[in-house]
Amino acid sequence: MIWEVFRQERKGQPFTHGGSFHAPDQAFADAYAREFYARRGESVALWVVPREAITTIEEFPDEFDLKYRRVDGYSIKARLKEARERASTAAP
């Protein structure tokens, strides 16, 4: 059975993935997580999760190119350039 460990370096900080290992049950996993990810004081808290409890989602269809919904918005660089060129060539 594979376990995934997430560790928190300081209180209040987000947990980040630390790594994974084999262990037969939660008791073993807890003991091993403690030894592998917190023995040197490098973590203040751990999440020890069986890998099978984690769902992976990696299909995010965007067939109609709805760029404006993305966090980075949509690029206006090209349009801006186009507009500038239009402005400089346009008759007064």
Binding site: A27, A31, Y32
Partner: protein
């Protein structure tokens, strides 16, 4: 040597020698994760030994390294239980681990109540790590406890486990383990097996040039 130094040395020798014996599994434990965990526990035990030797050393006018490595084999006070070389028998190793941690818990609980604040303080510090050693021992007990080879190992090691504790603490151990109190294998001058361990353990120290700093 007074009773306090004697007590500290018994405890320290138990932890050092058990740590050494457990570290014999490094690289050959049943699987990789256990290898790391059991090696770490061995290091913790040796850390406890260091702290205890330091207290004893302050009293005896020496230092922790000298107590750990410069005494002759006959000078060690460790219980016979921790001296046994048990690799490559994992069931016996776990049986010793469970028995030792159970006995040690009783001894440490008692020491935490000691009038001597220094002794009570170090016992409390050791206890905070031993909690996790016991959890580790218990999870293996859950796995192996029902197997015949484990039962045989406990049968064999039981008189040794009793010998870890002073006589007045033995009934408590018998109760926790659920066995009859029988004649214990007492602390005595260490045997041949220990002499080999001592030889290996002190080799680097003995071969160091005078005045070497570590």
């Amino acid at each position: 040597m007074n009773a306090r130094a004697q007590l500290l040395l018994e405890l320290a020798d138990d932890e050092l020698i058990l740590g050494w014996r457990n570290s014999e599994w490094t690289g050959i434990a049943p699987f990789l994760e256990e290898d790391v965990a059991f090696s770490s526990i061995a290091q913790n035990e040796i850390g406890h030994a260091r702290a205890l030797y330091e207290l004893a050393a302050a009293e005896l006018g020496t230092d922790a390294d000298a107590l750990a490595f410069d005494r002759s084999p006959e000078g060690y006070r460790c219980a016979p239980l921790v001296q046994l070389r048990l690799v490559p028998d994992w069931a016996r190793t776990i049986a010793r681990h469970v028995l030792y941690e159970t006995a040690d818990a009783i001894r440490i609980e008692r020491l935490k109540e000691h009038d001597d604040a220094e002794l009570a303080g170090i016992a409390a510090k050791i206890e905070r790590e031993e909690v996790y050693h016991r959890l580790h021992a218990e999870m293996w007990l859950d796995r192996l406890g029902a197997e015949q080879r484990y039962a045989d190992a406990v049968e064999e090691l039981w008189p040794y486990a009793l010998g870890v504790l002073s006589p007045e603490l033995r009934p408590a151990l018998a109760e926790r383990v659920g066995r009859e109190e029988i004649e214990a294998v007492e602390r005595a001058a260490p045997g041949v097996e220990f002499a080999e361990l001592w030889n290996e353990m002190t080799m680097v120290r003995r071969s160091a040039p005078a005045g070497a700093q570590w």
